[in-house]
Amino acid sequence: MGKTFSEDIVALREMDLKIHSGDFISLLGPSGCGKSTALRIISGLTEPTVGEVDWKVSHGSGAIGVVFQEATLLPWTTVEKNVWLPFRLQNKSFREKKDQIERSLELVGLKDFSKSYPRELSGGMKMRVSIARALVTNPKVILMDEPFAALDEITRFKLNNDLLALRETLGCTIIFVTHSVFESVFLSDRIAVMAARPGRVIQELGVDEPYPRGESFRTSSSYGTLCRKTSDALKSAMEN
């Protein structure tokens, strides 16, 4: 799977990124570098001005799942009904999909909260519901736009671990937008470091650390080295 597109007004210029099936790729960069624009183009919400995405998404197929920075839940309905949403919009009844919804909630560890309303949950739990909703259709690709940026560090570490475990189970491709060096190193196979004005990829870094990664990776020296390397790349991106 390859993507070539450019949108050269301000947002993105000549972004060329190859993403393989099963990749965990992070788009890392300062604000205004077009990370989110890239994600919007991949998800088909915005059309690229020039170029194209080789992999075409048809909306409504459930082939992609998305997680935004906010949990973006429907506040007027319960957790399980929120997870049902992608199916509901395909006109599939709740009963028909109950098993899949339950499994998805179980994967994120919220089985006991299926009847709760979003307002009764903490920020981290809401984000888990959002992830469960993205997973429920068994998508090939999950797009995550700074999903843990609004959470505290402890919750974020926990969710990072859980996300990797989920990916082991599901084997889907994840495109992850972040502005955290540590998060991108811990999670991804590859990091695309982006620079702003105009938005572009200036460096691609591989993280050759086998999965599963746990707390031992977070405290290892190779993690430190990779973080430093990524930080340097990001620094040069800011100076550019």
């Binding site: 919007r40 998800s43 088909g44 919400l45 998404v57 048809s58 909306h59 409504g60 197929s61 459930g62 992609i64 998305v66 935004f68 906010e70 973006t72 429907l74 506040p75 007027w76 309905t77 949403l85 992608p86 509901r88 919009l89 395909q90 309303y117 979003p118 307002r119």
Partner: protein
């Protein structure tokens, strides 16, 4: 003074009393009780002053009746007053129902077609800002049926808050949720039903509470203008007629009923709003805590 001089009282851990917290709790409790007690105290004082003024100044009842005479009249004339009240309530509720259907329907049309909205919204505003009392005489010239005329007046007053609030609500959908619906391939109908309408519900209910009171005002004002009496006339006409006959106690009694009806409508609509929102919406949430 050395630092070691500072001494902090540390009572046994299971009996820590924080003075500030205690004061705060006491204040909360006082407000809770006061919310019921204070209006009653004000009521008693007002009624007493009213009674006292009438007695001391020996004011005749055709100028200012004392409060007990008003209550006696209310009981004596209950049959006449209640049948008039029934007419007023009927007009009010019908106008409110039509306002809900018209207001929500128009708001949905507005959000479905921007073109429609920019064409018609200015006229909705004009209709709203023109005082009903100045439109009503014209309406009664062209509309033969009295009930229809009254209904039309009450509707004009009541429908605008529903229209403008619902339109605002339908347009205030979280943009990430909109994107999410697009990614999952929602069609226009699904978006309206599962996203826009639930998002607009709190706004609509806010408009509905205002509209309830306005429908009553519209119904009463319109009847003043219509001015024809006989069987099937409402409380406004009862007040007019009692005024002509200098039956001041009855005027007060009718006024009492109108005010009571307004409060009742507001209470019912607030209750409906609470029932629909208390599980998820911030406004209802704060009330609970």
């Amino acid at each position: 003074m050395a630092i070691t001089d500072i001494k902090v009282d540390s009572p046994s851990p299971n009996k820590v009393v924080d003075r500030n917290e205690l004061l705060k709790k006491r204040k909360e409790r006082n407000i809770k009780i006061g919310k019921w007690v204070m209006p009653i105290v004000v009521f008693i004082i007002t009624v007493y002053l009213w009674y006292w003024t009438v007695q001391v100044n020996d004011i005749p009842h055709y100028i200012l009746p004392d409060p007990f005479l008003v209550v006696t009249t209310l009981i004596q004339d209950l049959r006449i007053l209640l049948s008039a009240l029934q007419v007023t309530i009927q007009i009010t509720l019908m106008a409110l129902a039509v306002a809900v259907v018209g207001g929500v329907g128009l708001a949905i049309l507005f959000t479905q077609s921007k073109f429609f909205e920019i064409s018609f919204f200015p006229y909705a505003v004009i209709l709203q800002v023109t005082p009903i009392i100045s439109i009503a005489p014209l309406i009664f010239i062209y509309v033969e049926n009295r009930t229809v005329g009254l209904l039309l007046c009450a509707w004009i007053v009541a429908f605008f808050p529903i229209l403008s609030n619902t339109t605002l609500g339908l347009n205030s959908v979280d943009h990430n949720l909109k994107d999410l619906f697009k990614i999952y391939g929602a069609n226009r109908w699904q978006k309206l039903l599962h996203l826009q309408i639930p998002s607009a519900l709190p706004y609509f209910l806010g408009g509905l509470r205002i509209a309830g009171g306005l429908a009553l005002i519209g119904a009463v004002v319109a009847e003043y203008v219509a001015g024809t009496g006989g069987i099937g006339s409402g409380l406004a006409y009862t007040i007019l007629e009692a005024g002509y006959r200098l039956n001041i106690p009855r005027m007060f009694a009718a006024l009492l009923l109108i005010a009571g009806t307004g409060v009742f409508i507001f209470a019912i609509l607030s209750f409906v709003s609470h029932m629909l929102l208390h599980k998820w919406h911030e406004s209802a949430l704060q009330k609970e805590n």
